[in-house]
Each structure stands twice: as C-alpha cells, then as structure tokens.
C-alpha cells in the first residue's frame, strides 16, 4: 500500500515534466512503428493484390496495391491447372496426423515425467532434454536412410512417422503438469480412482492450455515445413504446399506470378485462421519454448 502511494505520488510529480519532453517523441515513435508495419505487411498485401491481377498485367508497374478489378480466375486456374488441391490435401493430412500424434505422446510423457515416480526418471528426462538442441541437419541423413530402407520414400508417412513425438512437446507438457497442485490426486485416490482415471479425467483437462500451445506451434511448424518434404518426397502428387509452390515457381516460369501468388495466399489462410483462434496460446508458447519450425 505504502509503495503504491509513493509510486503514484512519483508519477504525479513527474507527469508534466514527461508530457512536455515526450509529446513530440511519442508522435515520432508511432510514425516509425507505422513505417515498420508497412514494411512488415507489404509482402503479404503484395501477395493478395498481385494474386488478383490478370497473368498478363501481373508484371506491369506501378503495382496495384488495391485491386479495383479483381481477377478471380487465377484462383480457379491454380486449382484447375496445377495440383494445388492435392498439395493442400497432403499438407492437411501430414500436419493433422503430426499434431494429433504429438498431443498424445507429449501429454503422456509430460505427465509421467511430472507426476509419476519410476526408477531412472530424472536420467531419462535429462536424455530427452539433451536432444532439444540437436538440429534437424544432424539427424536427417540417417533418417533418410531409414525411410528408404523401410520403403517409405515418397510417401506422406515418411514425414509423419519421425515427427509423432518431440522433446519440446514433452518438456512443454511437463511444465504444465508441474503447475497443477497434487492435492487433486490425493482426493481422487480417496474416491477410489485409478491412476489412469486420475490422469485422464483430472490432470489432462487441467493441462488444456499446454495442449493448445503445443497444437498451435506444431501446426504452424509442420504446415510450413520445407526441408524434410523437399528431401523425402519426389513425385509432385505427394508434395506438401511449400514444396509444391516452389516447384510451381519453376514450372510456371515467370509467365504468371499472379497464379503462383494465388497459391501462396491459399496456403496462408489456414495458418491465419489458427492464429486468429489461438494467438494468445501461440505467443505464450513462443515465450516458453523459443522453438521454430
């Protein structure tokens, strides 16, 4: 209470002083931030507006930022002439399976490392943690060999199978389970609940926030993933969106950037929807983890 009053007293004292000195500074700050956001948004706006120009005029300058005469044909063209629907479907299948897989494996392992006692728990957890810093490049060649030996090359399974569990997910879920008080368990045991019931109906629902963070980060990472699909897939009908779109860039040549950009925009839509739904979780997750796809 005392500190509160002194703090407000201070701010009252320094208020007029501040206003005079920073009034101009505030305007400059907002203008600079506005300029920065123009730079940050320009490529996305450019994608939208150019995707709506006719292929013929997609090169003409000046660029038309606001499409006054939108050409929706490009969107039909990407779906009709190039296998965008197939890319979209492949990306959806791969991402969906990986997200579901990681939610299950991470919830189970995170719970075990947080709340179940078993010999070797800390050593095993340390082992999991130590794999967090291993980059994809240090494992991808042997995984590629494994995939070929299992005759999974050029299948969607080659992308899904190695990504069904992650050290990051385990770590994240463990943190969430650790925050839940253990009193719940004692009460449930008195009621005669089994260990599985305690996990399933008490702790798992309380860790919803962690599951949401993990789902969003995993979705974003694997939907946009490029290196693994580029290496593991070889036929166009198996391509996921990023690899498919890059293959279009070469295939379509520079003749119709508006069609390629229509494809880029279509690939952005699901991520934007997920962001709108769960931006709170996404930001929170990035703060916790600091991992990117």
């Amino acid at each position: 209470m005392a500190s509160l009053t002194t703090a407000s007293a201070r701010s009252v004292v320094s208020e007029p002083h501040h206003r005079r000195r920073f009034g101009f500074g505030k305007i400059v700050t907002v203008l600079l931030l506005a300029a920065a956001s123009v730079v940050m948004l320009a490529p996305i706006v450019y994608t939208i507006s150019t995707s709506l120009r006719s292929p013929m005029e997609s090169f003409t300058l000046p660029p038309k930022w606001i499409p006054t005469d939108p050409n929706w044909e490009n969107y039909r063209t990407v779906f009709d002439t190039v296998p965008l629907k197939q890319f979209f479907l492949n990306s959806t299948v791969v991402t969906f399976c990986i997200v579901i897989g990681q939610l299950i494996t991470a919830a189970l392992a995170g719970y075990a490392f947080a709340r179940l006692e078993f010999p070797g728990r800390s050593i095993l957890f340390w082992l999991v943690l130590s794999t967090l810093m291993i980059p994809l490049q240090a494992t991808i060649i042997p995984v590629f060999v494994l995939i070929s030996k299992w005759h999974l090359s050029d299948t969607l399974a080659s992308l899904i199978l190695p990504a069904l569990a992650s050290a990051f997910g385990t770590f994240l879920m463990r943190q969430y389970f650790l925050q839940i008080p253990s009193d719940f368990e004692e009460a449930a045991l008195l009621d005669g609940a089994s260990q599985w019931e305690i996990f399933r109906s008490i702790y798992l629902p309380l860790a919803k926030g962690g599951l949401a963070v993990l789902a969003i980060l995993t979705f974003n990472g694997y939907w946009n993933e490029f290196l693994r699909p580029l290496i593991f897939l070889s036929s166009q009908e198996k391509f996921t969106l990023p690899v498919g779109l890059v293959s279009l860039q070469g295939y379509m040549g520079t003749g119709s950037i508006s069609v390629v950009l229509a494809g880029v925009l279509v690939s952005l839509i699901p991520v934007l929807i997920i962001y709108l739904i769960g931006q709170r979780y996404l930001v929170e997750g990035l703060m916790v983890g600091g991992l990117k796809g």
């Binding site: 320094s14 956001s37 490029f226």
Partner: protein, 321 residues
C-alpha cells in the same frame, strides 16, 4: 514426497479390486509399482521416437561420416578422408564463410530492429495501437519461409520488382538485389530478418514486461532518461533475454536454407550457398551420404561450440534480477 502422501491414502482406502498378483496389490508397494509401470508405458512412445529418429541418427551421422556410401552399394570405410576432403573443398569452405557472415549480419540486424520495435510498442499507451503493431510484426512468422521467399524474390527482382520501382522514383537504382554477388547475401539477410523479427520482438516484449517498474521509476527520479536509461538499466535487466535470443538466434541462423534455396539457389556463383545447401546437395543430389554426414557433424559441432561459448561468457554480462 508424493509417496508418503499416498501411503496414508492407500491404507485408508478400502480394497476395490481383486488380487491377481503383485500388480493389483492394495498396498504401498502395489501402488508404487503401478505408478512406475504406468510411467514407463507413458514415456514409451516418446522414448522410442527420440531414440529412433533423434538420438540414434545423431550417432549414426557421426558413424556414417567415416564411410563412402551411396545408399545402394555397400559402404566403404574411409577413416577421416571425408573430413580431409572437406578441408580441401573450396566450395564447402566458402559455404562456411558465407554462413558465418550471414549469421553475424542477420542476427545483429534482427536483435537491433526487434529491440527497437519492442521498446517502441512498450512505450505506447493505447492498447489498440499495441495490438495492431504486435499483429503486424508477428504476421510474417506465420508464413512459410519457402513460400514467402517466392513472393520476396518477385519483389526484389531487378527489372520488374516493386522495390526497385519505388527506389527508382526517388532516383536510386536499379539495385541488383539478387543479381550481384555483393547484394545477394544482403537480400537474403533482409528476407530472413523480415520473417524472423517477430519472434525476437515477442521475446523482448516479454522480457521488458518482466523488468521491475520501481527500478525504472527510481532511475527516472535520479534523472536517468533516454539513451542512458536504456544503456545503464534496461539492457542489463534484459540480459537474460538477450542471452536466450542470442543462443536460439545463432542456432536458427546457422541452419538457414529456404531463403537462399528459393531466392538465389546459392548464386550468383556461390555467393549465397550456405552450409545446409552444400549438405543438401552432397547428401541428396549426389547421394554422397558419408560426405554429407561429415558436413552435418561439423555444423552440429559449430552449433555446440557457439552455444557453449555464449553460456561461458554469459556470467560476465548477464545479470539476473
């Protein structure tokens, strides 16, 4: 700790299940065994996956780097020959230099820009403006680096790109963004930072929010304002966040691949050919599995060394509140 609490609950509780051996036993031991067994079952999928697809492959990469192998024929033992070849491979060595330049340029630009943006947004009073700027800076992070590189390559095009069009209006250019060896790496840095800056921005925003307000107010009273306040108080208080950003940023930037692959394919010449591009070409275009593994081992070693150095040096400048 939890076992002692479960003793009392287990003994209070009336037996519920029939006894089929040790597993269902209604005692402390039965309970502990069930918990332990459940624990192993729960971690089994994750442990299997990590052993098979992460821990095992890291060791295998190391092992494969001593062989010559094209996946089809039998591997041939080479000893250290792949590493000898690497030291004499001009193109591979150049890729390490290029990647190092990229890491320094990209990370410093990313840190400076995102810190300024975070400080700017933090100083705003309006929640609406804060939300708008945060979304704008964050949005690129949601895009796929590969797909957005297609867009950026069009925008940076020397002849029909929008960027040179506007620069031409103010009498600059045309800048050979992707066509000259000198400019191409800078363009790749700009593309990478454009996409990644939102991440460090969010992390710095979190770090700034964690700084004790009273200290800043005390500094205000003592007349420390503007740059002095930033340098003497905000930055030291932010040093744990800076360490985090530095470590994760170096690790991420060392692995840069999508932007140069899509925008320049390593060119002009080898000006933007990064380590991961050479690794990709060696292992997957030419099926030189052993040589590719040697590059992977060296890259991983660099990542470990840089991370260790950053943590080693951190006690000199990182200040924990």
């Amino acid at each position: 700790m939890a076992t002692t609490t479960s003793v009392s609950t287990a003994t209070i509780r009336s037996p519920r299940r029939g006894s089929i051996g040790w597993f269902t036993e209604q005692s402390l031991h039965g309970m502990a065994r069930r918990r332990a067994l459940l624990g192993y079952l729960f971690i089994l999928p994750t442990m299997l996956s990590i052993l098979l697809f992460t821990a095992g492959p890291v060791i295998a990469s190391f092992g494969l780097s001593f062989f010559q192998w094209n996946v089809i024929d039998d591997p041939v033992w080479l000893g250290l020959d792949n590493y000898r070849q690497l030291v004499n491979d001009e193109r591979a060595l150049q890729s390490f230099v290029t990647t190092a330049k990229f890491v320094v340029l990209a990370l410093s630009l990313q840190i400076v820009v995102s810190l300024l943006l975070a400080l700017g947004v933090q100083s705003l009073k309006s929640n609406g403006l804060r939300f708008f700027f945060r979304t704008a800076f964050f949005l690129p992070l949601l895009t796929s680096a590969a797909s957005i590189s297609i867009v950026l390559a069009y925008m940076f095009n020397q002849d029909f790109g929008v960027i040179n069009y506007y620069l031409g209006k103010i009498g600059i250019g045309p800048v050979p963004w992707l066509n000259s060896a000198g400019w191409a790496l800078i363009t790749i840095v700009l593309a990478y930072v454009w996409q990644q800056v939102g991440f460090t921005f969010i992390v710095f925003t979190g770090g700034l929010a964690g700084i004790n307000k009273e200290i800043l107010e005390a500094a205000d009273l003592d007349g420390a304002t503007g740059f002095r306040r930033l340098w003497d108080i905000t930055l030291p208080m932010l040093s744990p966040t800076l360490l985090f950003v530095g470590v994760t940023g170096v690790i991420a930037a060392l692995q840069v691949f999508s932007e140069p692959f899509v925008m320049t394919n390593g060119g002009p010449g080898d000006a933007t050919r990064t380590v991961v591009m050479v690794l990709y070409e060696s292992a997957f275009s030419f099926l030189m599995i052993g040589y590719g593994s040697a590059i992977a081992v060296v890259l991983f070693t660099f990542i470990l060394i840089v991370t260790a150095i950053q943590f080693r040096l951190s006690h000199r400048w990182v200040f924990y509140q």
